[in-house]
């Protein structure tokens, strides 16, 4: 919670004024028993002689009404400032949280997990907001009433007031003791609830598999285990909080017994009047009323504190220093002069944070400007990891990656990402219009630039087929488009910024062969030349690349053109023949694996495979 306090700083005035007006309200409320005592002693029993003073009763009665009105005004004022501070605080907190999450690097995003981030930003922050609001309004009011009552008691009779001095610390111990005890228990309850949620969701997403394996009863058993743990923890914590009310009740009423006793003695001696005893007892009952309120609030506050912890946890996620990971190297003189390669992977390796083993090991190759690089390899061979290094999404942990001789760790993030057009595996669009989505690539893109990108991405028919063209509405995650349509638009989005480096991370998988081929031709014919990386499992997609990097288990198994690799790279041959079984026979027969003849056939059979998919897009 302390960590979050700074978001309240802008509402200092409100945070002070709210309790201040509460103080005022409490003060006037504390005057009430005194006025009442005066009614009894000077109105009813005026002078103890039995004569009544009706005028005094009226005056004091009006006084009570005036106190009520003043109390109302000051408490409404207090509520306003409290609400303003609490709402302002949570708005600031939410924004800060969102900004913080926006600033996280990829390593942290992997760790964070979307659904918990969402609950933290929504329900957790809301809980904290009500917590702050209540604290400002009532957590301060209660101590004020409690201590105020004690002080008032002192002004009436010191001996009676000593009862307050004993009772109040006792009450504090009970209330705060239970709060401190239950706080971690509530967290446990929350964790158990999360488990129930987890297993429920799992059962919905996996319903087919569960039923296929006839696991319904097993799952019911698991669920019952979780709900039992939840109920047990809830009942346990409930038992403890259930102690609070009875114990405070006993303390306060015990104090009242003591007050009667002391009052009896003091009245007998003549130190106190009847009305004053009533006032003192009144003060004690006021404390009880306050405590009941407090007890009900404590649960809210305890929950808010637990939520505050969770939110503070998000702020604790810090990015690693980008330049600090591994030592950076400056350009060696030899390379700087004349022949600096556009992009150089210099014995690069990558170990993800927390991972046991290297994902990429000793990747070493150079890329010239305008070249098309194909990257192929098996599942989990590190293809995506490799291209993710280029925009600096993950820090290189060994060796160096140099762009025109500069270590990319020394290039500002903004500049680096501005150069790269990335088409990710998952084709995701955002709520808005086609135009607003393309503006992601380049905020100030002109109409012309957009259409040019759309054409290159073979997406003209998609856009023109939509009502409103560029203004066509796109729903959340682009759900109102098919996979293929989304994919083309994500490609257009990357192209609209005219990137120097274009990365297609297995992005053409939802495109049929012909579109895929047209796309590649369009990119190749681009003026100025984009350096393009194509990650794919399809040999056909990278077949014509200037260089093909073959990855196997995080290591380079080969590099070269298609023909070269067919000659000398076993892994590539295996991949290729697994997709073109006929080729293997021909290759075996002719012993000329790279001949034009076989390649033509290969492409054909690939196209045949895509048939089903291309239908699927529409």
């Amino acid at each position: 919670m302390n960590r979050l306090m700074k978001y309240l700083r802008d509402y200092k005035k409100e945070s002070v004024l709210a309790p201040l007006f509460k103080l005022l309200e409490a003060f006037f409320e504390l005057l009430v028993p005194l006025v009442m005592a005066s009614i009894i002693d000077r109105g009813i029993n005026a002078g103890g002689a039995g004569g009544a003073d009706e005028g005094h009763i009226w005056r004091m009665g009006l006084c009570l009404l005036a106190l009520a009105v003043i109390g109302l005004v000051s408490s409404i004022t207090a509520q306003f400032f409290a609400a303003k501070a609490a709402v302002g605080f949570s708005a600031k907190l939410r924004q800060a949280l969102f900004d913080h999450i926006q600033g996280l690097d990829f390593t942290n995003i992997d760790k964070a997990g979307t659904s918990t981030m969402i609950t933290r930003m929504t329900s957790d922050v809301n809980q904290i907001q009500s917590g702050v609001n209540l604290v400002l309004r009532l957590f301060l009011r209660s101590p004020i009433i409690v201590f105020g009552a004690m002080i008032m008691a002192f002004t009436i009779d010191v001996k009676s007031a000593l009862v307050f001095v004993v009772a109040i610390p006792l009450l504090a111990v009970v209330v705060f003791g239970i709060m401190i005890w239950t706080m971690p228990l509530y967290k446990k309850v929350q964790a158990n609830l999360d488990k129930v949620l987890g297993v429920t969701r799992e059962n919905l997403t996996g319903v087919r598999v569960i039923r296929a394996f006839h696991q319904e009863e097993v799952e019911e058993g698991r669920f019952k285990g979780f709900t039992k743990a939840l109920a047990d923890s809830q009942i346990f914590v409930g038992k403890i909080s259930a102690v609070m009310n009875p114990v405070t009740y006993v303390i306060v009423n015990g104090a009242i017994i003591a007050l009667i006793y002391i009052g009896a003695i003091q009245v007998n001696v003549g130190n106190l009047t009847q009305g004053e005893v009533v006032a003192i007892i009144n003060y004690m009952s006021q404390i009880l009323v306050e405590l009941v309120k407090l007890a009900n609030l404590i649960i809210t506050v305890t929950k808010a504190l637990a939520c505050a912890d969770r939110v503070a946890g998000v702020f604790e996620i810090r990015n690693q220093d980008r330049t600090g990971a591994g030592q950076t190297e400056s350009i060696s003189d030899g390379e700087a002069s004349g022949k600096t390669p556009f992009l150089k992977f210099d014995h690069v390796s990558l170990t993800y944070a927390g991972a046991g083993a290297e994902t990429l090991h000793d990747i070493d190759f150079t890329v010239n400007k305008g070249e098309t690089i194909g990257i192929i390899g098996g599942t989990g061979s590190g293809k995506s990891s490799l291209v993710n290094l280029i925009p600096g999404f993950y820090p290189v942990t060994g060796g160096a990656l140099r762009l025109e001789g500069r270590d990319i760790r020394q290039i500002p993030e903004e500049e680096l990402r501005g150069m790269v057009g990335m088409v990710p595996q998952k084709a995701v669009l955002f709520k808005g219009t086609i135009r607003s989505n393309l503006q992601w690539g380049k905020p100030d893109a002109t109409e012309e630039e957009m259409w040019r990108a759309i054409d290159m991405a073979q997406a003209r028919e998609v856009v023109e087929g939509k009502r409103g063209k560029l203004e066509a509405e796109i729903t959340q995650n682009g759900k109102n488009l098919s996979g293929g349509q989304r994919q083309r638009l994500t490609i257009a989005r990357a192209l609209v910024r005219s990137p120097r480096i274009l990365i297609l991370d297995d992005s053409a998988s939802a495109l049929d062969y012909a579109t895929d081929a047209k796309l590649r031709t369009a990119i190749r014919n681009l003026e100025g030349g984009i350096t393009t990386f194509i990650v794919s499992q399809r040999a056909s997609s990278i077949r014509y690349a200037d260089k093909i990097v073959v990855l196997d288990d995080g290591e380079m198994a080969g590099i070269g053109t298609h023909d070269e690799l067919l000659q000398n790279c076993e892994v590539y041959r295996e991949i290729y023949f697994s997709q073109y079984p006929e080729e293997r026979l021909k290759a075996a027969g002719a012993e000329r694996p790279g001949s034009d003849q076989t390649v033509g056939d290969g492409v054909r059979s690939e196209k045949a495979e895509e048939g089903g998919e291309s239908h699927g897009i529409r």
Partner: protein, 591 residues
């Protein structure tokens, strides 16, 4: 419109009644405890009201200097002490009972809901958003629990307190009591007035919150893309704009609703002042003793409290009932037709599968599968091809009996599958789907899912057959690595390998492979195909795949279009037919 709204309200009310009845049915199991708790509540209330009377009596004895009757005061003190002790005890026991009842009712409801979930037809589950169902089982039940607990404890004691106080006041002094009775309802009205005024603001607030949540979901869920395009600032400012609106609206909603307390407290003060003034005059005329007046005052101080609580409880209860209604909607959902008592348990199926005159559609207006006939002999390999949406997956849904046919029948080994237990039918098929799903737990448990008694040795064998062993070995804890809900750090391909291993382990007599290798690279796939081929030997298998190499070797290729089988045969005969399949095949060679 107006009548529409009225109807809706009516429906809402009757729905609430129905929900209430259901809740009572759940509570009935704990009737003894409920009764006990009610008795304790009564005891608590009566004693709580009695203590101020005793205190007042004691005050009456403190007449003045030298006029205090100590023995009488001591007697009263003793009484108060006993009353306090009993009150505290019964209050504690009551709270504990209520906790017990509430959390057990909640547990019962959750378990029933989950049990129903396991029995609901996929038709229902496919048509409802998972998030919605999850929030019913988790969040709604929780809100309901809070409301129930609060309602249970406060409603009853609140009503009792009001009645008890009224009786006391009327017995002691009717005129002063009337003052209290007349002014108190004002606080009720004030609270109600404010509540109706703030309702629209709260509604607006939840709308804006919804907007904000979907923005968070979209951007945080796709954080990497946001970063890739350096859109952080743009997204932040959009968030800020919504956040500002939320702040304005929340401030109003919270402020206006928080006026309720001061306002009712003000009414309370009025009552207090009224009792004070009026009571003083009555006291002067000897109508009431000072002690009783002080007791009256302490009642006046607390009398409005139960009123406010009850109005709070009523909204809380309404909310709770609304949530309960949502859960019961789920629990009352028609379950799938249960397995008949005479349903056959399918063991060692030979793999004779026949579809006869099968008609099926998800929605009656959109016809899908019509008059589908197919006979598969044991050990045959059936491939299904066709454009997306043609009904390939539907056929699998029917074979597995995830959905029942509208008319016609599907037979396995000559028995209509509707007279076979679902469990035995489904476990006779080994199914690998394109969508991979892993249960949170260890890798080993996941592989062992279909055959829980499998030895570690067998698990490793299956993993090796699925080519999953090598990557599992490299995981931090090998086979004991815990995977989270959605498979966590495993890649799509690795998850698919695990799903294949799962089937490899239990080796059922029939197989269904729906795009089973779509996420696996071709090289690994080729190796797995060998394992599949071995597995498929002698087993009836249904394969949906894009890769022609698998399809070409099938005994029967079904070409589907718009829910119909338009062609049927093997690769050669189909090509020779020069029909849709052949066009599908040859069209690829152009362009």
């Amino acid at each position: 419109m107006a009548s529409d709204k009225a109807q809706k309200e009516n429906k809402g009310r009757s729905g609430q009644m129905a929900a209430m009845r259901q809740v009572l049915r759940y509570i009935r199991r704990y009737w003894f405890m409920v009764g006990f708790s009610l008795v304790l509540a009564a005891v608590t209330v009566v004693l709580t009201l009695y203590v101020p009377i005793l205190t007042g009596d004691a005050v009456d004895l403190l007449l003045g200097e030298g006029m205090v009757a100590f023995p009488a005061v001591f007697g009263i003190m003793k009484k108060i002490a006993i009353a306090i002790a009993v009150t505290a005890l019964s209050q504690w026991v009551m709270n504990t009972c209520n906790n017990h009842i509430t959390y057990h009712v909640v547990k019962d409801i959750r378990e029933d809901a989950f049990e129903r979930l396991q029995k609901l037809p996929l038709k229902y589950l496919d048509a409802h958003a998972y998030g919605d169902i999850v929030s019913r089982v988790v969040a709604d039940v929780d809100t309901f629990a809070d409301g129930l607990l609060m309602g249970f404890t406060q409603l009853f004691t609140g009503v009792l307190t009001i009645i008890g106080t009224l009786i006391f006041m009327l017995v002691t002094n009717v005129p002063i009591a009337l003052v209290v009775v007349c002014i108190t309802p004002v606080s009720f009205l004030v609270a109600k007035f404010i509540a109706t005024r703030t309702y629209s603001m709260f509604k607006l607030q939840s709308e804006i919150r919804g907007e904000q949540t979907s923005l968070i979901e979209e951007t945080v869920g796709n954080q990497k893309i946001v970063k890739t395009f350096s859109r952080e600032e743009a997204v932040k400012s959009r968030f800020g704009e919504i956040n500002d609106r939320l702040q304005d609206c929340s401030l109003q909603a919270i402020f206006f609703s928080s006026i309720t307390n001061p306002a009712t407290r003000f009414v309370n003060s009025l009552v207090y002042a009224g009792v004070g003034i009026f009571g003083a005059f009555v006291a002067i005329r000897g109508g009431i003793s000072v002690g009783r007046l002080s007791c009256f005052l302490s009642y006046a101080n607390q009398y409005t409290k139960p009123f406010n609580e009850i109005s709070g409880v009523v909204t809380e209860l309404q909310n709770a009932l609304a949530c309960a209604a949502r859960i019961f909607e789920l629990i009352d959902e028609e379950p799938q037709v249960p397995d008949g008592a005479d349903a056959k348990v399918l063991t060692d199926a030979r793999g004779n599968v026949a579809l006869e005159n099968v008609y099926f559609s998800y929605v009656p207006e959109r016809k899908l599968i019509q008059n589908f006939n197919l006979t598969v002999k044991p050990g045959q390999r059936v491939a299904i091809v066709g454009p997306t949406g043609c009904g390939k997956t539907t056929v699998i849904n029917l074979l597995m009996r995830f959905y029942d046919v509208d008319s016609g029948q599907i037979k396995v080994d000559g028995t209509d599958i509707r007279s076979i237990t679902r469990g035995s039918l489904r476990t006779s098929y080994g199914m690998v789907l394109q969508e991979t799903w892993l249960r949170s737990g260890t890798i080993r448990d996941n592989i062992r899912m279909g055959k829980t008694e499998a030895t570690d040795e067998e698990v490793v064998q299956a993993a090796k057959a699925a080519h999953a062993h090598s990557f599992i070995k490299r995981l931090p804890n090998g086979y004991d690595t815990v995977v989270t809900e959605d498979g966590g750090s495993l890649s799509q391909g690795q998850k698919q390998l695990l799903c294949i291993a799962r089937v490899m382990l239990c080796l059922p007599p029939m197989l269904i492979l729906d795009e089973a290798t779509s996420s696996i690279d071709t090289r690994t796939e080729m190796r797995i195909q060998n394992a599949f081929a071995k597995m498929m030997e002698g087993r009836t298998s249904f394969i949906v795949a894009h890769r022609l190499s698998t399809i070409q070797e099938a005994d029967v290729i079904l070409v589907m279009k718009d829910g119909n089988i338009i062609e049927q045969g093997n690769h050669e005969t189909l090509l020779a037919q020069k029909g849709f399949y052949s066009t599908l095949y040859h069209s690829q060679f152009e362009g």
